[in-house]
Symmetry: C2
Subunit: 408 residues, 2 copies
């Protein structure tokens, strides 16, 4: 943190997030790996809170992810806690990784008087190094003493690794005459092609939502937010999304459709976009919209193929309206396409149609459009009604710089 300049795509400031009744945060500098900054965050959740989660599908997922997954289905009125450290992912650490996760969650459970099954933990940072759990457990009492409902911004700071800015978002929605708040934060910048939930995301609401309903909504929405972003096509071993509903507003959500779902979706999408905007080395935020596919699934395959193509991403970095590389990425995706039916637009500029450059297209128009910071590439395949939107960033020298010396 602080090693690289703040992304040019960062929001002007961290948003003012509402207090969610029933949730309190604390952070501390435990020296897990970094010096001179906070690196552990604790969140305490009131009794009655329901929690839903989505996790990486990586076959080499980290110990705390496996631990979270095992616990996520459980319901309890005992309340809950989430503890997260940055600096060390506790991934690929064998038996010691399981022990470290257990030591941390056990210490939190004892301190807060919770069953161990209600303490969720995440770790993010370097892979393959033993997590110094003692440095965290030593601080659990101090963390507990510092818990404060107003410290959500500090929590967002403490979980950052190569992030250049903390990521927060909120929404509020009227439900049965009551106001429901939703607030959350995320971290993530590299190793981003979530196979559900990106890196680490925590969202809190004071709505009352039964766990199965919350889980269904979160799973569906993560598929249309975090699962539609990519920075570098690399999927983390630690991706975790937790959504906690305290119920303290007294307003109950009883359907997966409706204004609460929409508000939750907007928070998830906002956080997902912020992760892309902090993509390592990013200078352009790119929306890729694919329509006319044989199915939504096929549209997403095309979208991801374009979004992950190094040649498309370097062309964007170079402000080159190189639509030929978009055609290439469609062609290699494995999903259905007919070369001669493809239409491509850069923003409002019609670039290609019917298998060739559009008659009206002028290279100067394309080149001018590419100078923008927020770009849209729209592809219509002309085959059916399947559609998908994915978000990505460009691939720049700074990505290489960051990742060729991450551990040095």
């Amino acid at each position: 943190m602080g090693k690289y300049p703040v992304s040019p795509l960062a929001p002007a400031a961290f948003p003012a997030l509402p207090v969610i009744e029933g949730v309190a945060f604390a952070t501390i500098a435990a020296g897990v790996r970094y010096a001179g900054r906070t690196d552990v965050m604790l969140a305490r959740l009131a009794p009655g809170t329901t929690i839903a989660g989505v996790f990486t599908r990586s076959s080499t997922r980290a110990a705390p992810v496996l631990d979270c997954q095992a616990k996520i289905g459980g319901d309890s009125d005992a309340g809950a806690a989430i503890i997260v450290n940055s600096g060390n992912a506790n991934a690929f650490t064998g038996r010691s990784g399981i022990d470290a996760t257990r030591a941390v969650t056990r210490a939190v459970a004892a301190e807060l008087g919770l069953p161990e099954t209600r303490v969720f933990s995440s770790s993010t940072g370097v892979i393959g190094e033993k997590l110094p759990a003692g440095r965290i457990t030593d601080k659990v009492h101090d963390l507990s003493a510092a818990l404060d409902p107003g410290k959500i911004a500090e929590a967002a700071q403490a979980i950052m690794t190569t992030d250049t800015f903390p990521k927060g978002a909120s929404a509020q929605v009227e439900l049965g005459g009551k106001t429901v708040q939703i607030a959350g934060f995320a971290k993530g910048s590299g190793m981003i092609e979530p196979d559900m939930g990106t890196m680490l995301v925590y969202i809190f609401t004071d709505a009352k939502v039964a766990r199965p309903l919350l889980q269904q909504m979160v799973s569906e929405l993560s598929d249309r937010s975090f699962n539609c972003i990519t920075v570098d096509s690399d999927t983390s071993t630690s991706d975790t999304l937790l959504v906690a509903a305290t119920g303290t507003s007294g307003a109950a959500v009883t359907s997966t459709e409706g204004p609460f779902r929409d508000a939750l979706h907007s928070v998830m999408l906002d956080l997902a976009h912020q992760v892309v905007r902090d993509g390592e080395g990013a200078t352009k935020f790119v929306e890729i919209e694919v329509t006319g596919a044989t199915s939504d699934q096929e549209a997403r395959i095309h979208g991801k193929s374009i979004a992950n193509s190094p040649l498309v991403k370097t062309a964007i970095a170079g402000e080159d309206p190189n639509w030929g590389r978009v055609v290439m990425a469609i062609g290699k995706s494995g999903a259905e396409a007919d070369r001669d039916l493809i239409t491509i637009r850069f923003g409002e500029v019609l670039v290609a149609e019917k298998g060739w450059v559009a008659d009206s297209y002028r290279e100067a128009d394309g080149a001018n459009y590419m100078k923008g910071q927020n770009l849209k590439i729209a592809v219509d395949l002309g085959l059916g009604s399947g559609s998908a939107t994915v978000w990505t960033c460009d691939l720049t020298h700074q990505y290489i710089t960051i990742n060729a010396d991450y551990r040095s």
Copy 2:
């Protein structure tokens, strides 16, 4: 060509290639796109030559690829010709692309007295711009007049685009008391994850091989050579591999096994490796060997996932023995893996085993190994007997530089 320095991984010199009786080459500067260099190559093949081909599976493949594919099954005693231009890929050029390919092949057929179905063409270079076929057809007579069996090195030069060195390889093999020669050349540097045959590859032999036998051998071997390399995970719209057997040695190949197959394989592998060694911006040549998978297919999926991971490739560029990223790439591949059974070696250095860093591993050993120019990453999954080897290069600043300003 000449814009970027020659790859540090290039062979010391272009090899001395044998003359293949029955094949003659000519090159010319037609000004298709580049100035001051040759950009068209013509090869004339003697009557009786059999030709096998493998082509990109891209759904947006270029007009000359479609034309080649349609012609490849045909047999004829009339002889044949191959004409290739660099500078313009004639890809995504709609109806005009088909017309341009036909104009070129028709002109060659007329000049050389061949049926049009025996003239194969390829185009490589920028996508989406109309091929100025007239510049090529204008030169066909001069090309024909210049045909010379000794000009294979010049042919390899003429088809280069972002290549920093021409790529050639040869082998000879004794067959029934006769000496059979095999010689070929390739181009390719970026947009390299062939989905069969890389970019453009032409191989010639004076062996006598029936077309179905030749095709079977070439298809099988391309799956173990060109289909096992990747530079940037991007698959070209123009990938084409043609193998021509003139039969002029009088030695007949009658089986897909045996010394001829081995010799052909060695030439294909040599050319495939040279394409990786000219990977855009490459400073390291990396062999990735995966063993212990549940099948060869699963092993290749893991190998490609490692070879295409931007985080693995930037770590290699930074000489960082970051085996955690190898674990990550295995985890995201979608193929079967058990985190706690994985063994990873960098060269002879045992890095990780049983789901964690090896007891004997010292970071200094890994870091020292990574300083080499030719690296091997060996992964054993501990699950079964499936294996695969893939080859790739690192991802450096130079790749970004080359591709962020390719068209400018």
